[in-house]
């Protein structure tokens, strides 16, 4: 084989291989050549057919092998060039052996030169994927991390191979790809992942690209590598452009996912939340939160003081006793993590470092400035859209916050409250824009502190998990009863018409003597009221009487109009007023005159009216309304023969009844007052009971 190889290549230098090397190389070559024949869509057709009769190793397996050597792509590229495969367009045995030798040289640390071949070199080490597991020359275990490189390197090699072998158009891609290959850090790995996937599988490439960065840490991606040699030339080329765009997208994510400490990463939603919290304490996001403010704030998280002290130590990187925004976010995040059960780290994780936080999330600062200037109503670039977006984000995102689902709904409300408060607070902050004036800021921040904190931490949520123990809610407002009134009860006040009347809401007590001019009405109404009052209990309040009287008044009103030129309201007032007394007096008078008035009951109203009218002119001159009213039924009851007697008795009765009426008034007033006072007494009793309860609760403590 070696002779053939030497003869076959022609242009290459004589290859001296040791026994072990020969065996190894031949084996490898056979494997590659064998795999070429069996592989689906194996290798570029030209490679297999360029030199008919010569056994060539297909580019695919060869590329895999080279990738397994764990050499950087550049080196492999060089090796390919040197060994002559690029020139001839295929991997003949000579080229293959030279390449292997060069790989060995490279792995030994020697420069990739033709001269290196001449040296005595150890066998090249290849870390094979699972499919090629039989061939293991190196120690696969040690290069755990770099396993990731292999499929990508192979892909890289593969791409170069493809270019070399087939389309010269692909050469244009290779220069662009080689710079990608050169940086040794992780992003290129991820970049090549989509590339490899694209090359390997046409249809499923898009799907694979998505899990690719996440699988990258595991050697699962390797199986994709060897199969990358399968597809033909054209699809890879087509895919390359697509893939590059994907890879570009992936880079920022990749940088972030490099850190293994996932729980210490602050997501965007969390970040928003923290920034809002910061703003609630300190409106200027570029300024500090003082130690005491932060202490109060974080104490609400109900973590123990030593833990909080430790968290502070971790997060306050510059140890100045104040927290900047990134420090605050870090501290907040640590608290959240601790509340969720994560043990506190020994040192500040890299993702929580202030520099990292500031670098990774410059956006909130921009938003903050926009926010502040928006609050100042500076029209230029500010967009309320930002504000709304932030609000929505904060509201929505805290809902997505990965915290135990204690109270997400209330959290939304709280977040809304907070954002509204933050908005309000920043709106209030319109004047002192640059928080350079400490008194203003401290005053404002104090006011802001007081306001948002009392509102925002009142209920459950993430915040509840974090901060509790806010000021106890203000006690329910005391009943605004004027208890002093009870103590300073003045009998004079009792008879003051305005106060008790207004209190009870009743009409003011009517004057003692209603005006004369509507006796007939009164008589009408009195009769009516009497009729209606009969079946009613005597202790009725005048109110009831009023309504009924009012109703009844509506009937004969038209008559009143005719008879009396006075205004209706006046009349109705007077009548209503008058009715109260009759109502009041009606009861006792009814009792007193039950016997004479009983006869009135069966009388219907209309017929009694004309009767009373007759009496009206007789009595109206000297008597008041009530006497005529009382006289009315009396007269109606007794009839004509009693007229003379009734005159005397009516006078007496009139006097009696006026007195009775007055007493009734006083009674009513007193009754009202009594009810009020009783109400007050009840309230006082309740208060006393409450106080006694409190005392009871306190007493055991003090006694001990």
């Amino acid at each position: 084989m070696e002779a053939a190889a030497g003869g076959g290549c022609g242009s290459g230098p004589p290859l001296l291989l040791s026994e072990g090397e020969q065996q190894c190389y031949s084996e490898l070559f056979a494997r590659c050549a064998g795999a070429a024949g069996g592989g689906p869509g194996s290798g570029p057709p030209e490679a297999a057919r360029t030199v008919p009769g010569t056994v060539t190793a297909a580019a695919g397996p060869v590329a895999d092998l080279f990738r397994a050597s764990q050499l950087p792509a550049e080196t492999l590229h060089q090796i390919t060039e040197l060994c002559g495969a690029k020139r001839v367009g295929y991997f003949g045995p000579t080229q293959f052996y030279i390449a292997l030798k060069l790989i060995a040289a490279a792995q030994s640390g020697l420069p990739v030169r033709i001269e290196s071949i001449k040296c005595e070199l150890p066998l090249p080490r290849f870390m094979m994927s699972k499919t090629d597991a039989e061939i293991r020359f190196g120690n696969p275990a040690e290069l755990h991390g770099t396993k990731v490189q292999i499929p990508y390197l192979i892909t890289e090699k593969n791409t170069f191979k493809r270019m070399d072998d087939e389309d010269k158009q692909q050469e244009t891609q290779s220069p662009t790809m080689s710079p990608l290959a050169s940086p040794p850090s992780s992003p290129p790995h991820y970049q090549r992942v989509p590339l490899s996937h694209g090359y390997s599988k046409l249809r499923s490439s898009t799907e694979q690209m998505h899990p690719a960065p996440y699988e990258a840490r595991q050697p699962l991606v390797q199986p994709e590598g060897p199969s990358s040699g399968a597809p033909g030339a054209k699809p890879p080329r087509h895919k390359a452009s697509l893939i590059r765009s994907f890879s570009v997208e992936r880079e920022p994510h990749d940088n972030s996912s490099n850190y293994p400490d996932e729980p210490w990463r602050i997501t965007e939603e969390q970040r928003e939340y923290y920034v809002n919290q910061f703003r609630s304490l300190q409106p200027d996001p570029s300024s500090f939160i003082s130690g005491s403010v932060a202490k109060n704030f974080f104490t609400k998280s109900k973590l123990s003081i030593p833990e909080l002290s430790y968290i502070w130590e971790l997060s306050d990187a510059d140890c100045d006793g104040a927290l900047t925004l990134p420090e605050f976010c870090a501290a907040f995040h640590l608290i959240v993590a601790r509340k969720n059960g994560y043990p506190l780290p020994e040192g500040l994780p890299p993702t929580l470092q202030p520099e990292y936080l500031q670098a990774a999330f410059p956006k909130p600062k921009r938003e903050c400035t926009l926010f502040d200037s928006y609050s100042e109503s500076m029209p230029a670039n500010q967009q309320p859209r930002d504000l709304n977006r932030m609000e929505k984000l904060s509201i929505k995102d805290t809902a997505d916050f990965p915290v135990p689902t204690q109270d997400v709904t209330s959290d939304d409300k709280q977040e809304q409250n907070k954002t509204r408060l933050a908005l309000k607070s920043t709106a209030d902050e319109a004047l002192p824009k640059d928080m350079s004036e400490d008194p203003a800021t401290s005053k404002d921040s104090n006011s802001l502190k007081a306001r948002p904190r009392s509102r925002s931490y009142s209920s459950t949520s993430i915040e509840e998990a974090m901060k509790r123990g806010e000021d106890p809610p203000t006690p329910p407002p005391r009943p605004q009863k004027t208890h002093s009134r009870a103590s300073s009860l003045d009998l004079n006040k009792v008879f003051q018409p305005s106060v008790p009347a207004t209190k009870s809401g009743l009409l003011p007590p009517p004057p003692a003597l209603p005006p004369r001019p509507c006796p007939s009405q009164i008589s009408h109404h009195n009769v009516n009221s009497e009729r209606s009052a009969h079946p009613k209990p005597p202790t009725q309040l005048p109110n009831y009487g009023d309504f009924r009287l009012q109703k009844q008044m509506s009937k004969p009103r038209h008559r009143e109009l005719q008879e009396f030129p006075q205004g209706h309201p006046q009349q109705s007032e007077q009548v209503s007023e008058a009715e109260i007394h009759p109502q009041l007096n009606r009861a006792p008078s009814q009792v007193a005159e039950s016997s004479p008035t009983k006869k009135d009951i069966p009388h219907s109203q209309p017929p009694s009216k004309p009767i009373r009218r007759k009496f009206r002119p007789e009595n109206s001159a000297t008597e008041s309304q009530e006497p005529p009213s009382t006289v009315g039924p009396v007269s109606a009851a007794s009839g004509k023969p009693h007229a003379a007697v009734q005159k005397q008795s009516s006078k007496q009765k009139k006097a009696i009844q006026t007195a009775i009426r007055k007493n009734k008034e006083a009674n009513a007033v007193l009754a009202r007052l009594n009810s009020e006072l009783q109400q007050q007494l009840k309230e006082v009793h309740q208060e006393r009971i409450a106080l006694e309860n409190q005392l009871e609760q306190l007493r055991p403590v003090t006694v001990l």
Binding site: G291, S292, P306, L308, S309, Y310, W312
Partner: protein, 139 residues
């Protein structure tokens, strides 16, 4: 290097005391306690005349057979006492000063923590790590 490090409060009770755990620690505690008298003596000697110009570093408080005790007082009368092995001859005054300066800086960092109540024991891990670094500095 340092065998024992102690931070004493103004009222002469220890805020932090830590020594190499391999030996009888109580001995170190006694040594620190007795050194307090020396510290007070030094303070009072200097303090009456020149309070402002009093240097924080007190220097060697007193030597014993095996150990040397150095002292340092802050302006708030918080004392740092360090017990050093006498056999360690490589230690110079400057190094001791630098160690005290580090101690002082760490102490101020602890003070900056709002969750730290002045007068409590110091439980700061950062402070611990700093002291550890001082104590095992020289193999």
């Amino acid at each position: 290097m340092a065998v024992c490090v102690a931070v004493i409060a103004k009222e002469n009770y220890p805020l932090y005391i830590r020594s190499i755990p391999t030996e009888n620690e109580l001995k170190f505690h006694y040594m620190v306690h007795t050194s307090l008298d020396v510290v007070d003596e030094k303070i009072s000697a200097m303090g009456k005349a020149l309070v402002d110009q009093r240097e924080l570093y007190l220097g060697l408080l007193y030597p014993t057979e095996d150990y040397k005790v150095y002292g340092y007082v802050t302006n708030s009368k918080v004392k740092f006492v360090m017990v050093v092995d006498s056999s360690n001859t490589a230690l110079r005054d400057n190094e001791i000063r630098s160690m005290f300066r580090k101690l002082h800086n760490s102490y101020t960092d602890v003070m900056c923590n709002p969750f730290y109540n002045p007068g409590d024991r110091i439980h700061s891990r950062a402070f611990d790590s700093m002291v550890t670094s001082m104590m095992i500095q020289v193999c």
